[in-house]
């Protein structure tokens, strides 16, 4: 009961925040990007947290999503709302194609294989100029604003769309985590051989998770393209600013929990922006250096993620309750 009250309060606060921000200002953009990255980290969390497979190739699905909807819009005038589902379908297909050969890999080998897949996707987007526009990138055309066309003059609607997306992805994550699939994934994570013995089709469960994660990430790629408006292969398929960042957000926040990626995103994205705002006019790279130091400190302080702050707080509160 208490938990539900907390969730409702958080959602209401999140809905109120855009109302107090400048509707097409800087903090609105940061807020929107934060929500989108939280949702992407949550989608990553399915495979990285529940299946315990450290994927460093999610930029592939993300980029496929951004490119699919934008190409459909540019070439056929199809609304990104519909393009988003085409994006999801292709993203899921790509996840299946990569998961079949890589799912048997463990740990570092899986991470490296997925990293390579993201890079391959980037190279293809660079070379396949007739489809993707090549290294010059794609601009989402500015069509007359309307909800059906997914085109708005202000950032405000984008913030709410991103919020809804984050809620949907989080609900999917929780449903899977608490359901039979979550139990199977946990069994596989603890001991794959034992899971096989008790009758879990480990390959199938992992594949299902990978495909759901791929579909969601690609659909979020579409939302991102609508906010950023311009992207090129190096942005959409970026190992550093998409694949690793999404994993980093989930890890800093707390892997395998629904709250973790949200905490991580609301920590990392604004802090990075703030550092750029405060220090980037000074010495070159100073802002990134300070950002990096902050990350190292946080990881050393909370190796299992920011989410453990709440666990520690709760334990302390309960401890105090027992004492008094």
């Amino acid at each position: 009961m208490k938990r539900w009250i907390a969730i409702v309060v958080i959602v209401l606060v999140a809905m109120a925040v855009p109302q107090v921000l400048n509707p097409s200002g800087y903090w609105m953009r940061v807020f929107t990007l934060t929500l989108l990255f939280a949702a992407m980290a949550q989608a990553w969390n399915l495979i990285g947290g529940l299946a315990n497979q450290l994927s460093l190739g999610h930029a592939a699905f993300f980029g496929i999503g951004a490119y699919t909807s934008t190409i459909l819009l540019l070439k056929f005038g199809i609304s990104p709302w519909i393009g988003m589902f085409a994006a999801g379908a292709l993203g899921g297909l790509a996840a299946l194609v990569i998961a079949v050969p890589t799912m048997r890999l463990q740990g570092h080998y899986f991470a490296l294989a997925t990293l390579a897949f993201g890079e391959v996707a980037r190279v293809i987007a660079n070379v396949w100029t007739s489809l993707t526009g090549g290294p010059g990138g794609l601009s989402v055309p500015f069509v007359p604003p309307s909800f059906a066309a997914y085109s708005f003059k202000q950032l405000l609607p984008h913030a709410y769309i991103a919020l809804v997306a984050l809620i949907i992805v989080t609900v999917i994550f929780e449903v899977i985590r608490r359901g039979a699939m979550g139990y199977r994934l946990r069994a596989i994570r603890e001991n794959a051989a034992a899971a096989e013995v008790i009758g879990i089709d480990t390959t199938k469960v992992k594949l299902q998770t990978a495909v759901i994660s791929g579909v969601l990430t690609a659909m979020l790629g579409t939302l991102f393209a609508q906010v950023a408006v311009f992207f090129d292969p190096d942005t959409a398929f970026s190992a550093a600013s998409i694949s690793i960042r999404v994993a980093l957000i989930a890890i800093i926040g707390g892997v395998g929990t629904a709250v973790g990626p949200i905490l991580g995103a609301f920590f990392i994205v604004p802090i990075e922006e703030l550092m750029n705002d405060l220090f980037s006019s000074g010495a070159a790279g100073l802002s990134q250096l300070i950002f990096g130091v902050i990350l190292i400190v946080v990881i050393l302080w909370r190796p299992r993620g920011l989410v453990t702050i709440f666990e520690a707080l709760r334990a302390r509160l309960q401890g105090r309750g027992a004492q008094s």
């Binding site: 400048n22 097409s24 200002g25 800087y26 903090w27 953009r29 940061v30 990007l33 190279v123 660079n126 070379v127 100029t129 090549g134 290294p135 010059g136 990138g137 601009s139 500015f142 003059k153 950023a228 408006v229 311009f230 992207f231 090129d232 190096d234 942005t235 970026s238 600013s241 609301f266 920590f267 604004p270 802090i271 922006e273 703030l274 750029n276 705002d277 405060l278 980037s280 006019s281 070159a284 790279g285 802002s287 990134q288 946080v298 302080w301 920011l306 702050i309 520690a312 707080l313 302390r316 401890g319 105090r320 004492q323």
Partner: protein, 407 residues
Amino acid sequence: MSKTSSHRGRINRRTVLAGTASLIAAPWISSTARAQAKQVNIGVIMPLSGANAQFGTNSRNGIELVADEINAAGGIKALGNAKINLIVADATSTPTTAGTVAQRMISQNEVTAILGAFASSLTIAISEVTERRDIPLLTMSFADQITGRGYKNIFQVVAKASALGKAQLDYTVAIAQAAGTRIDKIAIMYEDTAYGTAQAGGLRAAAKAANIELVMDDAYPLGITDTTPLINKLRASGAQAVFPVSYLNDSLLLIRTMRQQRITIPAIGGAAGYVIPDFEKGLGEFAEGVLSIAPANYDLDTGLTDRFRKRFGYFMVHEALEHAVALDVLVQAIEKAKSAKAEDVTMALRGAKFTGGWTNAMTGGAVEFDSSGLNTASIPVMVQWRKKELVTVWPKDVAKGAAEWKS
């Protein structure tokens, strides 16, 4: 009991420090940097870290030189001697970041205009923001898309990439002809970036129009580590001249490998890495005689550009010069509009011709924007490395020296 309370205190303090305080403080910290009275805020977004940091820093130097000179001479007269206040920020090498920075400058710093951002992909990302917010963006990025999208708030002070690529070929043919050589076989190699592919496209089209055979037409990945296969292919191709298009590190590697393998055919670079002091520093004697196309060159008006050399200790590279011109033109537009409002300045820029000041260092001696925002007065120049300096050698009417051509 005391132990518990001290622990609780520590957690609370840390949580507050690490988490909420900085986030809550964030909007207020930035807004304290707001403009004071009597100054005009101008945003400068450059890649100050990452692969293009050097070009970004050069550009910032050029802008700071002009801003300081204008401020020292009494600021913007039409606005009661208002001072120029530059707001500089790092775009890193990510277009999304560049767009976010632009959004920040517009909503927090209330900038009149934005200058930036050297790399075409960053400039395009910024232009998507400035166009929706009606803020003028002045740039020296080359990509054709910049003024090819029908945007109303963008101003490109140099010729487009396709025009540069065309001039790179046409000027070379003319220079060779003047030396008594007819060119009918050439090689192109370019990095697979927006800049590389666009310029290669211009080269290719010009070669086709001039009936010149492309015996090699290869893209390679940015940051290539082994150029030997490319150079071997070049040797076998029988090309009379090679047109490499690349940033600094790749240009050093390509030219060095070529010269070490005793391939002496003329190399005509595509600006970027070929026209900065580090090219000569990295290559030494191998740099001598290398040609390159450039959107502008400092020797066209040394009276102006020597001020840069005096302050920063190296010659005024073209991106510094063009950004200096961009700021000069912007200030002229503010003077003309008698207003620092973005829409008034855009009106004053669009379709107008600017002369005097730093525009003297441009080919054409003026800056004139057409309705798409492209400076139609600017034509590219061919420069050649001579004893650590770049000499303009073509077109003949602006050349400061004769081209050396060794076929």
